[in-house]
């Protein structure tokens, strides 16, 4: 592990409620490096979603520190934290969360707004990202005109178009049939090329098995943190483990 990992959680707790305090996350420490492909697993209520909110900079720790590239997030203003989130994190959701009134290209372009970028440049980049997920020919389609698998690929394009260092996915295959799910996981494995970290929150063992590292959670704590060699059995992509250093 290097001294300044991409993301570092140091004794992080997230406590909800005023009188009855619920420790959704209870003193968790965790580093995630660029190049890692991590899955976060655990039963409902284990703190996965809380972890996701923190890793995605949508939430702040109640206790402990969360730092990105060595900088503590707690000290940032909403504007700076939002900008940092836009730069560092790309989100992929179970329900895709595409904006219904925009076509595929404009949905992808949404991630590039407010970045002093010319419309031409934005369009070019969006089309590039759609190319990566094989959706370029359907760039004029709106979410209702796309299948679930296509919508999720569009969402992935939106997540990677900003070239984030962390791709954060929340049950990305949860709303898909097995064929589309396999398709989406294939894209994730392709994206695991050492230039970014990928973190997938899931309770699907098959999805978790695709990753190189599995973090198991229970009752707000990390109960296991395993490096998997099994990922290599699925394809050759597991061999990128050492790229982080």
């Amino acid at each position: 592990m290097s001294d300044t990992p991409l993301l570092r959680l140091d004794e992080v707790s997230r406590i909800y409620g005023e009188e009855v305090k619920v420790h959704a996350l209870d003193g968790v420490s965790l580093d995630i490096e660029v190049g890692e492909f991590v899955s976060i697993v655990g039963p409902s209520g284990s703190g996965k979603s809380t972890m996701l909110g923190l890793l995605g900079l949508l939430d702040l720790p109640s206790l402990g520190t969360l730092s990105v590239d060595g900088t503590s997030v707690a000290d940032l203003s909403d504007h700076d934290r939002s900008t940092l989130r836009g730069e560092v994190v790309g989100f992929i959701f179970q329900q895709f969360h595409l904006i219904p009134h925009l076509d595929a290209r404009r949905n992808v372009e949404t991630a590039l707004l407010y970045r002093q970028m010319s419309p031409r440049e934005r369009k070019h980049r969006a089309m590039g990202a759609l190319e990566v997920v094989g959706l370029a020919p359907r760039h004029e389609h709106r979410p209702v005109q796309m299948s679930g698998g296509e919508q999720q690929r569009c969402a992935i394009a939106r997540a990677i178009v900003t070239e984030p260092k962390l791709l954060l996915a929340d049950e990305p295959t949860g709303a898909l049939d097995s064929t589309n799910a396999a398709n989406v996981m294939e894209i994730f494995r392709d994206l695991n090329d050492g230039s970014r970290a990928i973190a997938i929150v899931t309770h699907d063992p098959a999805v978790a098995a695709s990753a190189d590292r599995r973090i198991s959670m229970k009752d707000g704590k990390i109960v296991a943190d395993d490096q998997l060699s099994g990922g290599a059995a699925v394809s050759g992509f597991g061999g990128t483990l050492g790229d982080a250093s």
């Binding site: 909110g53 949508l58 900008t83 959701f93 904006i99 009134h101 707004l113 407010y114 929340d170 929150v201």
Partner: protein
């Protein structure tokens, strides 16, 4: 700058995605602004005739009347009253008249008893009358110096009388106390002093010769330098009196018309206030729909926040959507209002007043704005202001949404 363009793009996409709803909430500002514009425009146009008349006739004509010292009957000026008045440096011209009482005017024999019971006013006038009053003839000519010098039995009749007698065209005679006078002209309606509309006007010398009334006028009309009307009015009695005992009462003739033109403003303010009310209700409508829209689009807001758009950008997005609705509605409403005013003015034959010198709700516009559609700007401005206020609450609500709660993670 690019962020602003991006914001406008996002807002436009949001609005165009829900066209019918956008149009519906636009109705509020459209109705409000069109009501304001139409109310003010219609009342202004309805009295546009009056104002046009005022502008044409000028507000610098003063009437001086010989006033009765107590008990005196039919007071008059001296014969040289016009000369006396013209000595004032601020006087551009003056003309004297006199009413001749006790004359039975008969246009034709059969009507003698009627016109005995209801005598037509007979006035004398000099040859400066048309110039000073700035009034036109409908037909014929005015009394000239030859008529005056020879005490000719010529007469000019007011247009009201001419219409009553059927005297508009052609040579006619009219009987004044059984003496035949030739009608040589018909004078146009004179709104500032309606006494001429139904009068028979004859040379002063003829009146003296035929009816022995003397040559002294009892009324003088004075055209003043535009800038010194009030000063001229004040100086008039002294100039006429010249140390004698002549009393003069003075009136600026346009004052009465101006009062009439101003009388409509109460109605105008009431109707415009109703329009403003409609606009405010429209604003509440915008606020309502935008608030619901924020709830409906909470997922969109969440995803935008996740994509790195800060709270302020979310707030701006919804504020701009609201303002766009208000602006577009206001512009449309102003156009509709203008259309109503133009159309109604055409039907009613009014003078269309596009940009009155407004004194609405105490906002007095400088005169150099006249000529630009001030009314239009006020209407659109009001809609804009309303929509800004309407958008504030939904925008703040949108900005306060927590993305974690709207995205349903895990």
């Amino acid at each position: 700058m690019r962020s602003v363009r991006d914001l406008v793009g996002v807002a436009v996409a949001g609005l165009t995605a829900r066209w019918s709803r956008t149009l519906l909430i636009m109705l509020g500002p459209v109705i409000g602004v069109s009501a304001i514009v139409a109310a003010v425009g219609l009342t202004e146009s309805a009295k546009g005739d009056l104002q046009e008349t005022l502008a044409a006739l000028g507000d610098n004509l003063i009437r001086g009347e010989a006033a009765a010292s107590f008990g005196a009957d039919a007071p008059t000026f001296t014969e040289d009253v016009v000369e006396r008045v013209n000595r004032l440096a601020t006087v551009e011209g003056s003309t004297a008249t006199r009413s001749v009482s006790g004359i039975i005017t008969t246009p034709y024999e059969a009507a003698r008893s009627y016109y005995t019971a209801f005598p037509t006013p007979v006035l004398t006038a000099d040859e400066h009358f048309l110039d000073v009053m700035q009034v036109e003839l409908v037909s014929g000519r005015w009394l000239n110096s030859f008529d005056q010098d020879t005490a000719a039995r010529t007469a000019v009749v007011g247009i009201g009388l001419a219409d009553e007698f059927g005297f508009r065209e052609g040579n006619r005679t009219i009987k004044l106390n059984d003496l035949d006078y030739g009608v040589v002209g018909v004078v146009e309606r004179y709104p500032l002093d309606p006494v001429f509309d139904n009068a028979v006007i004859i040379p002063a010398s003829t009146a003296d010769a035929d009816f022995d009334v003397g040559l002294e006028p009892d009324t003088v009309y004075v055209r003043s330098d535009q800038a010194f009307t009030l000063e001229t009015e004040a100086a008039l009695p002294v100039a006429i009196n010249l140390g004698g005992d002549i009393e003069t009462s003075t009136t600026v003739l346009s004052d009465a018309l101006e009062a009439e033109a101003a009388a409509d403003s109460t109605l105008q303010i009431i109707v415009a206030a109703m329009g403003l009310l409609a606009l405010i209700v429209g604003g509440v409508g915008i606020a309502n729909v935008m608030s619901i829209s924020v709830i409906q689009r909470s997922a969109e807001i969440g995803i935008r926040r996740a994509l790195g758009h800060g709270r302020s950008l979310i707030a701006w997005q919804f504020l701009i959507e609201s303002v766009a609705v208000g602006l577009l509605g206001g512009l449309t409403g102003a156009l509709v209002g203008m259309g109503i005013v133009v159309y109604a003015s055409r039907i009613a034959g009014w003078v269309f007043v596009l940009s009155p010198e407004l004194d609405l709700f105490g906002i007095q516009l400088p005169s150099h704005y006249v000529g630009v559609p001030t009314l239009y700007l006020i209407g659109v401005g009001a809609a804009l202001l309303t929509s800004v206020f309407a958008g504030l609450y939904p925008s703040v609500k949108a900005a306060q949404l927590e993305p974690l709660e709207t995205l349903r993670l895990g």
